[in-house]
Symmetry: C2
Subunit: 484 residues, 2 copies
Amino acid sequence: MSITNELEKAFHPRSIAVAGASDNPSSPGNLFTQHLMDYGYRGEIYPINPNQTVIFGLRAYASLREVLGPVDYVICCLPASKVLALLEECPEKGVRAVHLFTGRFSETGVNEAAELEQNMLQRARELGIRLIGPNCMGLYYPKERISFAYDLPMDSGPVGMLSQSGGVAGESVRFASLRGIRYSKVVSYGNALDIDEADLLRYFTQDSETKVIASYIEGTRDGKKLFSALREASRLKPVVVLKAGRGIAGVRSASSHTSALAGSSETWEIAIKQAGAIQATNFEELEDLLTGLCFLPPVLGRRVGVVGGGGGVSVLSADGWGEAGFDVIPLPEDIQATIREKVPEMWWNWIGNPVDMSLMPESAWLSGLTGDILHAMVASPDFDLVIGNVSIGGPFGEEWTSGMIKEHADDIMEAAKNGTKPVAVVLDTAALRIGDFEEWRWRLLAEQRSRFVAAHIPVFSSISEAANTISKLVNYYQNRDMSS
Amino acid sequence: MSITNELEKAFHPRSIAVAGASDNPSSPGNLFTQHLMDYGYRGEIYPINPNQTVIFGLRAYASLREVLGPVDYVICCLPASKVLALLEECPEKGVRAVHLFTGRFSETGVNEAAELEQNMLQRARELGIRLIGPNCMGLYYPKERISFAYDLPMDSGPVGMLSQSGGVAGESVRFASLRGIRYSKVVSYGNALDIDEADLLRYFTQDSETKVIASYIEGTRDGKKLFSALREASRLKPVVVLKAGRGIAGVRSASSHTSALAGSSETWEIAIKQAGAIQATNFEELEDLLTGLCFLPPVLGRRVGVVGGGGGVSVLSADGWGEAGFDVIPLPEDIQATIREKVPEMWWNWIGNPVDMSLMPESAWLSGLTGDILHAMVASPDFDLVIGNVSIGGPFGEEWTSGMIKEHADDIMEAAKNGTKPVAVVLDTAALRIGDFEEWRWRLLAEQRSRFVAAHIPVFSSISEAANTISKLVNYYQNRDMSS
């Protein structure tokens, strides 16, 4: 059976045993059992603990062997010293895959622990058992109601993720959910002792539930295998790689985290590029790229139109988009004609791109001119993408400003409706303190953010964030179209 | 009288006339009058409007000439065509400075408008009147209860700002206020027809109320004068320069905004550096730099200690700080000894820098080990700065996580108390939608942010934001100490 088929089977278990389950609420075995219950996992759950008979109202078993029915999948929360004995019991119950939450193996840098890890691998191979981990959070698969944390969404989406860090995996899901993104499956795979990043990439490449692949990788033991899997994956789906463990300290840190062989950061950069994948340099960029990949149609060129904000924001936008390699073209003739027609009394050729809204007289606002310009940009073959700046400046008070901002948001959503041209928003809701939530300004911005997220229009928190993200997307799409 | 003295006098007016004041709430003259009233400006306010007799309960005058007492300062909201006539009336009333909100001069690109601007300058010089603007928001000076917007703080702080954009000026004050920063004065100076960026820099250099100078500059007409003022200012106070109008589109955009001669962006970069100032490349960086300058003691070296977060965050921290030029040194012997002493049962030499909190056993948590490590780092001559990562990972639920996060925040604040070593926090509260405010996770993070802000500990929203900001500060402090 191919590794992809093995994983597909492992991710649809009819029953799950939690080795080391417990009613002690601060033990991992307790938590993993609880998550399965809370999420409503539909198969049988078998808590394994020699000292307890009932856990969460479920019958607990003294050992895996004593479970009555077959066991498809094991979550192992036992101490490292007890894993080998557990593996011996697996074949009898038909277990094909074991997720080892258990850590303190090679990542500790202690020889005995590293040897134990190797013995574990060897024995698992002899017994025909696949290992996920050790030292990892394992599987989050909302459709099967399996979760490694208590607070991840119950619903599914297009992003499949492999992550050497369970913490980064969880945070990725949480932060992305604020942007309207959901995940098909996430596999936290820790030390990659058996199933590795290349296996998981191949799995997600085949997985019909996954449209976009996200990855957090600290190292590899088989660069050739990884490169080949990455290239295959990138041919079919966008793959974002957050490669961690880059400098001296990062390599050292990755080694004590997942015993990863981090490798040269230049080699990785070249390999990711040659494979046709997209490199994220930090966590925030990973989230931004996923947002763009999930919600923007392919961005195929660099001619950008920017609408909204006052004079300063317009100049900063021109700089930010320009420096990210975009062409902030002058406002085309036909759009100037639209302005001239609507507000003949103003110096219409004063309006440029970015469109400085504060130059316009009130009559222009009232006649819906900014919406018209947005529409014209979206319809125009001169623009490859259109950006709406949403910011609250100006000397007017709450009522006027709220009305203006909402109308501008309406216009952007209306212009984006067609869905063929990429439209994104720059809107900074700011990092707030708890009391700030009550101020209308920040609430209003958060409300507009909610609307854009609900409408699946990507929102970025700064010009540079938007420009750098979309620049990477343009490179990706252009490169993909050239090689296909 | 030197320009600095002239400005000092202009910023402490005994009376202010608003030319073009009106009871029409969408007119700028109405707004400027209202702001003076709302903020409790203590001098006389004279609304000038030939068609109204009472505005906001104040007697309105048909012309400046008709005002009974002397007028120190004029806010002019008249149309461009009426400014020259207003200037003629100024000497009679003793007016020394006029803030021209009035726009549509050279920035429109229209010849007649540019000529009118030049005539205005010439006449003002002949009459001995200084002009702020035109095409600008003018003065925000909380101590004198003068504001160009309805929603800026009433209290003062150490940041003085000059800004060619009124929008950027206002947003800078608003966003910085969320980080606990207040401003001494802000001058939005638009087209810089008379009083220019160099004059204002000199003013803020002398101003005892200003400890840190922020600037948003789109261009200059006298690079030599600016460079000299910038160098003088930087000798005495940190100066942050956000130079906008850098690329082709930015230059074009700056020209239609404030008719700025934007100049070569390389020349600016070199000049800012040689003058000993700090360049911000975008708005967010400006705010970050101000936060570091206001709340961190001088950061004199690059050896960083990082505490908090799980394995993935630790690796990403090592990468982020390393790539920004910091030295994420291995954990020194004496701090390892602290760990060994407190938790002899754990593989104490497994703990590195960044300190991965998730490696520690519960006993270490309970014994307050992370606080001890933070304290030891702050006290250690091996570290130039200490960073607390505050993030919510882990499999435990609300109660446990809240307790852990609060304790970690306590530890960081306790360690920072001494105030001699730079301590900053990386905490991402995320850009939230309106409903997200109700979720405990995001509320908890916002609460911790509030506490850090109140304690004057800088909070950055990402590793790269913190690392890039503090890297610029190290360059600044090292460069300053070398040249002094």
